[in-house]
Symmetry: C2
Subunit: 340 residues, 2 copies
């Protein structure tokens, strides 16, 4: 017998129990009038620039709560950041929950409050949603999908394929914090300092960089696969070589130490509150200053440069403190499953 | 050791294996240039009427393949229909997969082909996506979320709260087919006739009804909870009573027989290719003809009427063939879990 304090199969029925769950948990947490209208689609104003950006992300992280964040904050930040990287003004989110029978309703309320707070911080509204309940044992408590819609300003054409030789690569802060924070929590690892996830909505930071550096080539948030995946994606899409300077890449000493202990490369570890930007060289300083002026960009740094692809084709190289270079590859298999 | 013919944890890594999965399965199935651009958000034209409709649905149905459809066709139809019920022209979908380690890649390809075909039929494009992989045992093979965006025509204001006394209620075809089809497949029940799911994209049917009946009050697809939930939602939102005529409600004899055997009320069973419409009385015939002219509306019928709410408040009544009426309530708990 499952008590009323946990999710039950009936909460996914489309009937009275589901209505109660929606009223008492979701509508209590999320305030958008478009959601409260109670129709199957949220209808909302979008003045219309002629183009939209649409992105989606599903979150399956375990544990659900970790230092610096939780699955709800991640679910909002991840999609807000993905939409914002296109240069769009992020406006609306949808939210789809998969709940496991037996999941504590108090945990669900806490997750929804975190989503609502993060959405307020980002200035976006959750205007539509869906809930499914699966049998006990068929999910790990809760999975959350969000999709986000934004307006793309006229003339904007950011793309990972737009990098040009001579461009400069920036990162908005320290790398590896999120992955190591979740991993430490999951494995019960104790370090002298608590490592916190960097989960944060970066749409305001991105807007500030776009104001300061109007010719930004592209943004990407280095989540799964870390900086290594992001730079390799840029290099391949733009057919260029990217060289980064290992000493210039900001990594917290405690994250570096944890990575060494666990055998990870911090450049391949997931971040949830960092942005990589490629900008023309003459806009690099302005872009860096714009990042540093934002609360989530105080540790921003210029970390590298785009070059012509050599004979071996597009690749990413890391220049070590000793002057040598090594190839920075994308992860082959899985390093940190269920990190987001 | 999991062979290459199944999903592995590395397919969710953000690294090389994930890139291969995206290239060889998703990009092979889905053709939109916005998706093939390979950025974190799909950027697409939306001429802009000033308002968008956004909806989302997650699909956790078991089994994944059933007579008349599969989880992929459902995932496209469900969201297309939810967006279309707002009166919007559905344009773009996002798609988020949760894959279980060990899930056969051939099944995933088949599901993606089905999604692509259904999207083509509906005239919508899948322009962005996400893939997560969870450990063996943490999901039932595959869960799929879709979110959809459409343009809302100027002046359109469909809402479940817009029903007025005197309005007429229509349904676009037979009820209960989807729920009974999935249930039969799941339980290995054999009936003399194979009952097929009605899963279908209804955006073209809805557009035709809107053309024929410009003052439609609202549409809703009676999925989980069936006709009973949809009509009770309309009654509560509009503060009216809705009376339907049991004999006028189309139900296939084999579905009726299966419901009697299993103890279900076909009015509470899920549909995935039917629409309920409430229209002014003087537009009811035109709306009915528009439905019947569509391939998915050949069995459409006028089934009831909206009245003033009596002293007991908003409710739904069914008039039986014997002239008596009974209250049609929303399901309380769960009848058919994992039906969509």
């Amino acid at each position: 017998m499952i008590s009323d304090s946990t999710v039950q199969l009936g909460h996914g029925s489309g009937g009275q129990m589901m209505k109660r769950l929606i009223d008492e948990v979701f509508l209590d947490a999320f305030e958008a009038p478009e959601l409260h209208a109670g129709n199957d689609a949220g209808v909302a104003a979008l003045p219309g620039t002629g183009r939209i950006a649409l992105s989606t992300d599903t979150f399956v992280v375990t544990p659900h709560f970790f230092p610096g964040g939780d699955i709800g904050r991640l679910a909002v930040c991840g999609t807000v950041n993905d939409v914002a990287t296109s240069g769009a003004r992020v406006r609306y989110l949808s939210c789809g929950f998969i709940l496991e029978e037996g999941f504590p309703l108090d945990d669900l309320r806490r997750i929804c409050q975190s989503m609502a707070e993060t959405a307020r911080e980002a200035g976006v509204a959750i205007i539509t949603g869906d809930t499914k309940v699966v049998n006990h044992g068929s999910a790990d408590g809760v999975y959350i999908n969000t999709a986000g819609v934004g307006e793309v300003p006229e003339g904007s054409s950011l793309s990972g394929a737009a990098c040009q030789p001579g461009d400069v690569v920036l990162v908005s802060g320290t790398l590896g914090d999120h992955g190591i924070a979740v991993m430490s929590q999951r494995e019960g690892l104790a370090f002298s300092t608590t490592i916190e996830s960097d989960a944060a909505p970066l749409n305001h930071l991105i807007a500030a960089v776009l104001d300061a550096s109007p010719h930004v080539r592209c943004f990407r948030d280095p989540t799964r696969g870390g900086l290594a995946s992001t730079l390799n994606e840029f290099a391949a899409a733009s057919n260029v070589e990217i060289e980064v300077d290992e000493e210039a890449i900001p990594v917290k000493p405690e994250v570096q130490a944890a990575c060494e202990m666990l055998g990870y490369d911090p450049l391949q570890v997931a971040n949830e509150g960092k942005i990589v930007a490629v900008v023309p060289a003459d806009e690099a300083t302005a872009a860096l200053e714009a990042m540093r002026a934002n609360r989530y960009g105080t540790d921003a740094a210029i970390i590298g440069r785009v070059r012509d692809a050599g004979e071996s084709g597009p690749c990413v190289r890391v220049r070590t403190p000793w002057g040598s270079t090594r190839i920075l590859d994308m992860l082959v298999g899985e390093q940190l499953p269920r990190i987001c």
